[in-house]
Symmetry: C2
Subunit: 194 residues, 2 copies
DNA sequence: GTCTATAGCCCGATAGAC
DNA sequence: GTCTATCGGGCTATAGAC
């Protein structure tokens, strides 16, 4: 009852890892199959054994990356009850991933999936960001977030958190995110708290 | 004493306009010369008469777009004295441009210039964003912005302003930016005010 | 399953007429 | 200055041996 395509030497995973790194760095269209071959050490023929074509490889990477992020976010939310703490969980996850899984975080921040999927939803419409908006909406009901449009408050918060991560990757911010995390989280919360 | 290449019918400008739109939409590498020919109504030969190659067209567009933004920003700063008002000038410029010059604003937000210029400075290192940081630093000195690292406060503010613009372009935000501008500016200022 | 070699296609840039 | 037609290069995806 096993999958019909066995990946005995983890080649599939190596291709995925190398390709995501390259896609983020150079953009989907700039990455050639020979590039992926060189970076992963897996041959052209083997790549086409695991993926129908370059586009379906990109789609697979996209889905996996989003699903992994969503799972991590939900896991960290379990122990948090107040709105402030839940939003902090998002910020901390993002800051942690920027250090421990930079490929994943850069993908989420910078990847243009429209280069290979014409009519896919923007990332900010996907589950994790829907969840953020829901948390903010509940925060307004509970009186923890200032009254107003929950959408606007959610955007103000995530903007104040995600922009520093972008600038850290672009080497504009010199200090590691962990050193300035508390100040960033405080600023973001000050923008929307009741 | 005139330029040696005359552009009698504004073809050069039409190429620039069409190419910037296409570059933002599809990314540098996805845009082909035939695409630009179709979108601008200018022939291949004429395009190569005005620009040495595709890359130098992209560089020209990049420089012009940044310089235009910087000029507009400086102009709007002239009448503002307090830190809050200066930062508001930035926010209002960005919101206005998103409506009146969406191509320009999308270019500034989304364009990956590293696709055609390998070692160019990130946009956030360029003059307009240096200026923002300077304004915030002065605001801290004057006691208008809370004490701390001016870099962090500048990033928190611009993040809370630019993210909504991104989401508006991605059609995640349904309301026009002008309708929610005051709330966004208030949130961003709340994040960093003294 | 995995490899190498290559077919077939499309793009950027140019040549040469007007 | 502007056009159309085309060349050479480099890409994706496949063929066929192992």
């Amino acid at each position: 009852m096993r999958r019909y395509k066995i990946d005995s030497q983890g080649k599939r995973a190596r291709v995925v890892k190398a390709a995501r790194r390259l896609f983020v760095e150079k953009g989907y269209h700039s990455v050639t199959i020979p590039d992926i071959v060189a970076a992963s050490g897996v041959s052209t023929g083997a790549i086409y054994n695991y993926f129908a074509n370059k586009e379906s490889l990109a789609r697979y990477i996209h889905e996996r990356t989003l699903a992994d992020f969503q799972e991590m976010f939900e896991q960290r939310l379990e122990s948090r009850s107040s709105t402030c703490e839940k939003l902090r969980a998002f910020a901390e996850l993002v800051f942690d991933l920027a250090e421990s899984e930079p490929d994943m975080m850069e993908y989420l921040l910078f990847m243009r999936h429209c280069e290979f999927m014409q009519n896919a939803a923007p990332i900010c419409f996907t589950e994790p960001f829907q969840l953020i908006r829901q948390i903010v909406a509940e925060g307004i009901e509970k009186g923890e977030v200032k009254p107003g449009d929950f959408f606007i408050s959610a955007v103000s918060y995530t903007g104040a958190i995600l922009r520093p991560v972008e600038l850290r990757f672009r080497c504009v911010l010199e200090k590691p995110l962990h050193d300035i995390a508390e100040e960033l989280i405080a600023n973001a919360w000050a923008a929307i708290k009741a």
